[in-house]
């Protein structure tokens, strides 16, 4: 029964051509600007060798843990050298190190060399990621049997700015999916079409699916089209094309479900767009949509809250490494957001229509 509803909703969206064009052209423009601006920055980071020092105070770190960290660092092309009773700042200067870590009993102090800021950021990211993994590993285990999960050795992928921003901006714009539905939602609101839907055999779920599927198809296909254009215009490399396309489509459906939930709660398109843009901007900010997630200094735990982080990391790692530890979490995030937001959106609609 909702086949015709989906078909006509798609027609309504695609006939509001301005939104679709903005949705496709927008990310391409941002890709061009950001990849150009950050090209040198990422190149610098790619080529530099990472040499750092460390010092241990009062047996602050166990020998097993230290060895695990040095081995994992070495696997990631980071050379860690031990210094005893030294002045960290002087040691960094004299040995041209990118950074220095002082392990104390209840904290770690990190010294960064401004001349090697990129490498210092990578080192900081590495140490932060290492200790988070250690924390996870230690929980419930005997400390003598600590097994360090180091993910893939190239945890900070060497990626071109074109590829990085080519991927993350398409994901970011995909999360503003509700804009694509503006033509449809405005027409429904203006002409009180909801009344007609109420006086029909449509259930709240069918009504939701009529919008959700139509919007997901339009946004998903627009994202894929933008991805193809990014290849043609900027030579962006997408790793594992079928998997990447699947993740982009699922990301689009999660974004649509989220947008429709906000719309059903507020029942106002302008408020919805402002709310969605604000939340997505935050998620993108922590998820690497502007500053690369490899170089941002926010704690890993904060980044991991953002679904955009998982999707970005998965797609960029697939692009430059061909594999990623974030495939499962990216897929899981998208599916869970789609299901939870859809259920809540239907409930919100039923409450608004006084059906419950």
């Amino acid at each position: 029964m909702i086949r015709y509803l989906i078909k006509n909703n798609i027609k309504l969206m695609t006939r509001s051509i301005t939104n679709i064009v903005l949705f496709i052209v927008g990310p391409l423009m941002v890709i061009a600007i950001l990849s150009n601006a950050f090209n040198d920055l990422l190149k610098k980071y790619e080529n530099e060798e990472i040499n750092a020092g460390y010092m241990i105070e009062d047996e602050a770190i166990s020998e097993e843990l230290l060895n695990a960290m040095i081995t994992a660092a070495s696997d990631n092309d980071i050379n860690l050298e031990k210094y005893d009773d030294t002045d960290p700042e002087k040691t960094v200067r004299e040995n041209d190190l990118c950074g220095f870590i002082v392990f104390s009993k209840d904290k770690n102090t990190f010294y960064e060399n401004e001349d090697h800021m990129m490498s210092a950021k990578v080192l900081e990211y590495y140490v932060s990621a290492f200790f988070e993994n250690v924390t996870v590993s230690v929980l419930g285990l005997d400390t003598s049997d600590i097994r360090i999960h180091t993910e893939h050795p190239s945890f900070t992928p060497e990626i071109e700015a074109d590829d990085y921003y080519g991927i993350v901006e398409i994901v970011y714009f995909g999360w503003c999916a509700i804009v694509c539905g503006a033509g449809l939602l405005m027409s429904e609101k203006k002409h009180r079409i909801d009344k007609k839907y109420t006086v029909s055999n449509l259930s709240a779920i069918q009504l939701y699916l009529g919008k959700f599927l139509a919007l997901s198809i339009v946004v998903g296909l627009s994202s894929l089209l933008t991805a193809v254009l990014s290849i043609l215009l900027f030579g962006v490399h997408w790793g594992a094309p079928i998997l990447s396309a699947l993740i982009l489509l699922l990301s689009a459906s999660a974004a649509v479900a989220f947008g429709l939930l906000v719309y059903n709660v507020f029942d106002n398109l302008v408020v919805t767009i402002i709310a969605v843009f604000s939340i997505v901007w935050m998620a993108g900010f922590f998820g690497g949509a502007f500053e690369t997630y490899m170089l941002s200094s926010y704690p890993e735990s904060v980044k991991r809250i953002s679904p955009i982080y998982h999707i970005n990391r998965c797609l960029t790692e697939l692009s430059c490494m061909g594999h990623s530890d974030y495939i499962d979490s990216a897929l899981l995030y998208c599916v869970l957001i789609t299901i939870i937001c859809s259920a809540l959106a239907v409930l919100a609609d039923m409450i608004r229509r006084n059906r419950v």
Partner: protein, 250 residues
């Protein structure tokens, strides 16, 4: 004749304000039932409760012998609603609008195509089937609004001020079509502020004020309630006598 729709103590409150107050009306099959009332009398809320758009606070609606609230889903395809608003998508073509709204009642495939043409022909828009609704005049949009509500062949048609803001020719056309639908067996509920329309169309009229039905009957019966000699009194005079001349600014 059998009762097609009956309300029992139908009440709607918004906070402490009673908008519809213990409304009891019965509409017989094949009737053209007119609902009149000044602004804020509770007509639209009554229509919205009858069509299931708004949930009553108290009371119930019986439609075709069934409890409408409980059997809503199975009864909806027997109901056609023509809202006061032009509930059409302007960026869809005429046939696409009819397709969209007719398909909501489970009609599909070749039957749907046939119903689209039938509905458009009924309202005189078949030759404009491929034109976008946004290119239509006000009268044509009103006719398309009707076409979108009749494709599933409902037994009861609810018209909420269907002739607002259109030219006399379009209004005349719409009124003729409502009469034709009634002749073919459809029961009609009709609200309008145009008394002459109601008088010409309706076999039974209810006048509402302050959420209550204050009088019910045929046009002649209502006139007799006000004046013995009905030859020199209009329905509008009856209406004003019953509801007063005070402005209703809501």
């Amino acid at each position: 004749m059998s009762i097609i729709l009956k309300t029992t103590d139908l009440t709607k409150k918004y906070g402490n304000k009673v908008v519809v107050d213990n409304l009891n009306i019965s509409i017989e099959k094949g009737e053209v039932f007119g609902l009149l009332g000044p602004n804020g009398a509770g007509k639209s809320t009554t229509m919205n409760m009858i069509t299931g758009i708004v949930k009553p606070t108290l009371g119930g609606v019986e439609f075709m012998g069934e409890d409408f609230m409980k059997k809503r889903k199975s009864l909806m395809d027997k109901l056609g609603y023509i809202p006061q608003e032009l509930a059409i998508h302007e960026n869809l073509k005429a046939w696409e609008n009819v397709e969209l709204f007719t398909s909501l009642y489970g009609i599909k495939g070749s039957k749907l195509k046939q119903r689209i043409d039938e509905s458009l022909e009924y309202v005189g828009l078949l030759d404009r089937r491929n034109d976008f609704a946004k290119t239509f005049s006000g009268g044509m949009k009103r006719r398309l609004n009707i076409a979108c509500a009749i494709g599933h062949h409902p037994d009861l048609l609810v018209f909420d001020e269907p002739t607002v803001g259109i030219d006399p020719q379009s209004r005349n056309f719409i009124l003729d079509k409502i009469k034709e639908s009634n002749r073919k067996g459809a029961t009609i509920i009709y609200t309008s502020h145009y008394m002459e329309e109601v008088e010409a169309l309706c076999t039974k009229i209810a006048i509402m004020d302050n959420g209550k039905v204050i009088a019910t009957g045929t046009s002649e019966e209502l006139k007799k309630m006000v004046k013995d000699d009905i030859s020199d009194i209009t329905l509008e005079e009856v209406f004003l006598t019953m509801t007063g001349k005070k402005l209703r600014d809501y």
